[in-house]
Subunit: 147 residues, 2 copies
DNA sequence: ATACACCCTAGGGTCTAGACTAGAGTAAAG
DNA sequence: CTTTACTCTAGTCTAGACCCTAGGGTGTAT
């Protein structure tokens, strides 16, 4: 009757939000349990009912994951957004993540350089005897080999 | 009596091999269960008995781990060494690992560049409103922002 | 009315690489 | 002989991010 009854937001069931956000139904429920999504309204039958904002929240989560944040870190970021934190808090999270990423990149580049050298040194034909890769693993001259 | 009784290899208990290789006792038993170490001889009381070669094998495993190989991949490498595989098999494992490492480095560098840009754009003071990091996560202009 | 898609909960399983615990037996040193 | 250090098995726990199953109930279209 009155405009109060008007549902401005379309009501979506879990399958619809999951599909719209490109995640599985299990993932939506899992995120709810992990505190990334608030407990949604329920229909009379107990179905979870969502609106558009949940899809946006799921997209936020997906983007944050794409930048390397863990779900626990994303909870923090969402909290700062929800409750209005300070920019400094956000920067402290991203700054720590940047350092972590830098360390991982350095690790991987070290591995890459050692392994690339060994792989290049190995003829690739014949029996494993004399294979520089295996020999390096056996003898432990990895450090001397590429630094 | 005869030279047959002579133990050329010193007999080591699990604590000694673990210490010599710089891993925990748990790790040694765990590797045995995972097939990285053969089931060792046992003393009358059931103690695991090792010789020097186990330490070398543990060092092999440690070096391979340091190059980014998983335990499953290390089982393959050890098998090639034990049973005398071909160099081509070794190279196929290391080649795949190199590609994997390259992909991971690219991923991390992409994250690093996006996140570094956002982090630099954020003043770091004041409320979270208008924070470029949060806004990018909300709006999804991550791709446009740094490529 | 019935087929079919969708939803619910509770709980277990996956992968990686171990760490840690309990409860019991064994070895070496004083 | 007693203390201390070591070892055994079996099992549980961690983090991270879910997936899958069973055994139901619901909603809608034909």
């Amino acid at each position: 009757m009155s405009p109060m009854n008007t549902q401005i937001q379309p009501i979506l069931k879990i399958g619809a939000v999951a599909k719209a956000a490109g995640v599985s139904i299990d993932t939506v429920r899992f995120y709810e349990g992990r505190g990334l999504l608030p407990s949604p309204q329920r229909s009379a039958a107990g179905y979870r009912l969502y609106d558009q904002s949940t899809i946006e929240r799921l997209n936020f989560i997906g983007r944050a994951k794409g930048l390397g944040f863990t779900l626990n870190e994303i909870v923090l970021l969402l909290d700062l957004q929800d409750k209005g934190g300070r920019k400094a808090e956000v920067k402290s999270i991203t700054g720590a993540k940047l350092e972590q990423i830098d360390r991982k990149i350095e690790d991987l580049q070290r591995m890459r350089s050692v392994l690339g050298k060994l792989n290049g040194d190995c003829s690739g034909s014949g029996s494993v005897a004399g294979c520089p890769i295996i020999e390096a693993l056996v003898d432990g001259d990895l450090d001397d080999c590429c630094k």
